[in-house]
Amino acid sequence: MFEQLFQFLVTGITVGSLYALVGLGFALIYNASDVVNFAQGEFVMLGAMIAIALLDAGMPLLLAASAATLLTIVAGLLLERFAIEPAKGASVVTTIIITIGAGIFLRGVALLLWGKDFHSLPPFSGDTPIQLGGATVLPQSLWVLGITVLLVALVRAFFNRTLLGKALLACSFNRVAAQAVGINVRVMLRLAYGLSAGLGALAGILIAPITFSSYEAGVMLGLKGFSAAIIGGIGNPMGAVAGGLLLGVLESLGAGLISSGYKDAIAFLFVLMVLFFKPTGLFGHQLVERV
């Protein structure tokens, strides 16, 4: 029983790491622009699919992964330039629909490029399972965990220690004030979209060897990432990371102990409960709406 629980925990943390990365991307964009980017899941899909395509074309894995991340960052910048910037000042509902449209568009592009088939990436270092305290861990899970920890630490350091990160943070508090002290808000906005797309792409590349990828693969991951951001209190990057891990573990426990078919329902039921009883997130602080 205990071993089984441990196994669920390992699986949950692996999946949760991805939710955490996607949620972190949501939080970055939300902080910089007050926009919830519903196309975030498509960055994950693009990262995975481009990496797979480049690998198939004969590129070595590391190069394919780097190129895929860069190309996805370009897609994020294009999204910001051609869909978000022209709609500046639009209502929340309008921006939600624009990003939903962008997500459908990117899925449409992926469908044209790669069809409806499922693709997968070979594991980074073989697929001989490792026995760890009674649980079976895939080497890829360790890659996922390790790189997630590294990326989260990097993002934290970026915000806390670099001038650029602090400037981005300033934009999230007050854009006008940030502009007034000489921060180029427009550049910061692009930086946020680029970073967020990059994080998404890396998440996609990390998970591609475990779950198969297809043009639709980003939808659920994106929504779970958004859920992670909401559980953590929207706009709170480290809250999103915690929320993602929590959601992953909960989902894995639900799938193992209750029913695997209902795992998405369990995850979203949890999100609904958080929204109903603590809408500012489990780790957020009270926000006052300005009238």
């Binding site: 309008t94 962008a102 899925r107 449409g108 929504l223 609904l272």
Partner: protein
Amino acid sequence: MRLAGFYLFAALVALLPVLFPDNYFVIVIGASAGLHVILAVGLNLLMGYAGQISLGHAAFFGMGAYASAILTTRFGWPSLLALAAGLVATGAIAWLLARPILRLRGHYLAMATLGFGIIVHVIMVQATRWTGGPDGLAGIPPLNLFGWSVEGDLQWYGVIVAAMLLALWLALNLVDSQVGRALRAVHGSEFAAQMMGVDTGRAKTQVFVVSALFAAFAGSLFAHQQAFVSPDSFNLTISVELVTMVVLGGMASTFGAACGAIALTLLHQGLVVFEDYEMLIHGALLMAVMIFLPQGLFVGLSQGAQRLWVTLRQES
């Protein structure tokens, strides 16, 4: 005079099968568009007038459809009674859900409605004993209206168009009622509406329930018309499509929503030939309309025409 547009539209849809007899395109696609109009007009009450987004509206559509499907096939209920039961059940669920969910705003509301839609969809797929699971439920008997069994494409066109006109008429009157004014006040500023003495919580609950009832009604008709339901007809994609219809035509305009529903139905038919491009075009269209004509095609174009008319008159 207020309903002049409505009578014109009613005459047009009634004349269509006369002008194009035995035309598959008009009758079948027309019926499909009619169902979409009911859905979009209902959702527009919530989105356009009250300003509350719902990304889970397909759930209510599905509840109506599954209520009719399950009650008629598994319990042998008469179709009208099953339809009524579906409306009552969906209305009750919407009412229970309304208060907690509509306290949320913006992104939170989007997430909550989305989550609700996904939960309902998962139940449709998983509760195989009741819903037939991913394969769905087949063999739904025809709709029986007081002894008249609705069969054949033309009869269905008539029934759906009548239902659509009823929905339009209800929506147009609702918007001009006291409730409608309260809703528009909520959209403008919920805080200001409260200060003016509008019970905003009540107004939002009412419109949420009405909007769900429109969807459930369309769902029951859909189940009988198709004689088959499966979870695929009620997933997230459909919820997003319903939102697309509303914003495509123009929010806060009943005819705008209706036009959006018809336009998207026709677009889907037109794009069948370019199957692989459909998604791409759908996404690009959604983005383009929201960026360049955020008030919607129908409303945007009619406002443009009005402005042009005023300018022309001033010049002459």
